[in-house]
């Protein structure tokens, strides 16, 4: 029997070097460029590390998962319905604070997350030092410093992916404390969400999105298989790999 192929999703703000990392990992030559919005559909490639085959999916860069636009929906739906085995959130070392906003949102959706802090070389030049150990402890997920374009830290990243995919890493993702009002709402909705949707989806996150009145999410949840068709060819190929 063939070994399982694990799916690894790349997420991150626009222009943090996801596509560069994707190219390094897969050896493909997806076009990269120094400007936001380069990747609008997702690209796929394969990567083999220590005998395991990984399917790498490069998702469009987004600032949030609040489904303001088609590309944010692509990223959100992929996390929700394809449930990658590992999600790498690529963050820009030179703008960590802003980049963490998305990372925190991803942590609410899945606990199988690795934070790859990219552009470490640039940060070093700017005199920015990041305590990755402390950050990992705070976030409750592995944090790996890399420089994708200089191919630094890639092995460490892949080792972490390997460990997480094979269940050797236990994570304890940071859960954002919201205002008492919101937390009360979540507490009330949580049992109802679990009732209707079971354990398939991240219940706390869905409760939060419902409070925010995210109707596009609700539409997607009502017809889980349909979002796969919506994106046409780009999605059809993914839908077949792993059933929802």
């Amino acid at each position: 029997m063939m070994d399982k192929t694990y799916t690894v999703a790349l997420m991150g703000n626009p222009n943090t070097g996801k596509s560069t990392l994707f190219n390094v990992l897969t050896g493909l030559r997806q076009h990269t460029g120094n400007w936001p919005g380069k990747t609008v559909t997702h690209a796929e490639g394969e990567c083999r590390h220590r005998g395991t085959l990984y399917r790498i999916v490069d998702l469009p860069g987004t600032y949030s998962l609040y489904s303001n636009s088609a590309d944010e929906e692509v990223a959100r739906d992929f996390l929700l319905f394809q449930r990658p085995d590992v999600t790498i959130v690529v963050v820009d070392a030179t703008a960590l604070e802003r980049n963490l906003n998305l990372a925190l949102q991803v942590l609410e959706m899945t606990d199988r997350v690795i934070i790859a802090i990219n552009l470490m070389d640039e940060a070093k030049k700017k005199g920015i030092h990041i305590n990755t150990k402390k950050l990992a402890a705070k976030l409750g997920v592995p944090v790996v410093p890399i420089s994708a374009r200089n191919r630094e830290g890639i092995d460490a990243l892949l080792d972490t992916v390997d460990a997480m995919a094979h269940g050797r890493i236990n994570t304890n993702p940071l859960s954002i404390r919201y205002s008492p009002e919101i937390e009360r709402g979540i507490a009330k909705l949580l049992p109802l969400v679990k009732d209707v949707m079971g354990d398939t989806y991240p219940a706390r996150w869905i409760a939060l999105r419902l409070l925010d009145g995210d109707t596009s999410l609700l539409q997607a949840l009502k017809q889980p298989p349909q979002p796969l068709i919506k994106e046409g060819n780009a999605y059809a190929c993914c839908g077949s790999v792993k059933s929802v």
Binding site: V40, S69, K188, L189, L192, L211
Partner: protein
Amino acid sequence: MPAADLSNQFDQLMNEAKSLAPADTREQIVSAIFQTSAALSQECVTHTAVAKRDRTEQIDRIVTSKRWGFPIMLALLAAVLYMTIAGANVFSDSLARLFGTIETYLTMAFQAIHAPDWLHGLIVLGLYRGTAWVVSVMLPPMAIFFPVFALLENYGYLPRVAFNMDRLFQKAGAHGKQSLTMAMGFGCNAAAIMSTRIIESPRERMLAILTNNFVPCNGRWPTLILLSSLFMAAGYTGGWKTFVTAGVVVAMVLFGIVVTLTVSWVLSKTALRGIPTHYTLELPPYRRPKIMETIIRATLDKSLYVLKRAVTVAAPAGVITWILANLHIGDTTALAAFAHWLDPFAKALGLDGYILMAFILGLPANEIVVPILLMGYLSAGALIEADGLHSLKQLLLDHGWTWLTALNMMLFSLLHYPCGTTLVNIYKETKSAKWTFVAFALPTAIAIAVTFTTAQLARWLGLV
């Protein structure tokens, strides 16, 4: 569980959520996230040596300033084009000579094996000569233009272009992000259509889709550069000639942008009425690109890609064109008949039947318009040796070209319908046959109107 039941439960859930949600839910959520991020980075990030001010900011203060933004943009574009044109002249000629020599040997080989005339005609005069023309006139400018352009792109300049253009697009009633998708169109319109997904509002996205075609893509840059260098600076010599040539191409790009803005403005006042939405455009820091890697990748990915597309489509087109040119209907050939039939209309646009035919047959890809045109001309009797730009110009002059023909072909190329791939993407993205047709018909109508006007004006003023 029946679907209706499930749907009901969802609706109940939504209603429940609505009743629980405070009025400023989004603000509360966002501020909680932001506070958490801020606290985290406060604890984990330390700054040392904040001595020199951020260089990116310093550069941006100049290149995105109101006074210098546009002049710098134009100067950079002109500089890139100048390098392209000056450099291309040099090795276009030697490349053509090389192909000419090979052709002589090929012909000798065909004679040696006593191949029939029609086979020699088909393979050497049709397939080989057509392809050789394409390679020698299109490869040199592409080999210079694309790598240089890619260096600018990877350095991070394109978002600054978008930033500069942003205000203009807002004034035209369009989304500022349209300037980004437009910038992407300079590479490939088909890809840019996909990139319009970054625009949230459907109305503004449609504007971006409908007008994307008005900036020249990879397939059309070579056409513009070639025609401009052949015809637009005839009265100048040396460095000035190159300068004027580059200037004309810059003017073409500017005209394309003006058309983009005008069409956006008119549509946003009529068929696609609405108010532009606000957004934040992030300017990424300048990053020194890996120079050799960028050059190699641009050469492989773009120059060779475009060339491959041109040759793979041009080679069969060369054969078909040759067959059509040798297929006699009465006392004329099929090709000549088709071109002749188009001629009256084409002449009114300042073009000729062959040019219009090349545009029509070139629908699948803009790269093959010039190749088809050359093959059409070559098959029509003027079998001259392919020895570079001079004989190319002679070939065009023999077919009655003037500066007006060149200008109008450039204008038509800039403004006409998008290529087949782009149209397919437009259909995929809009899911509407109607809007796809608009995306085809609107640019075509504008192309016809503009070329008709320039042709009539030039003739009326007695300029040609």
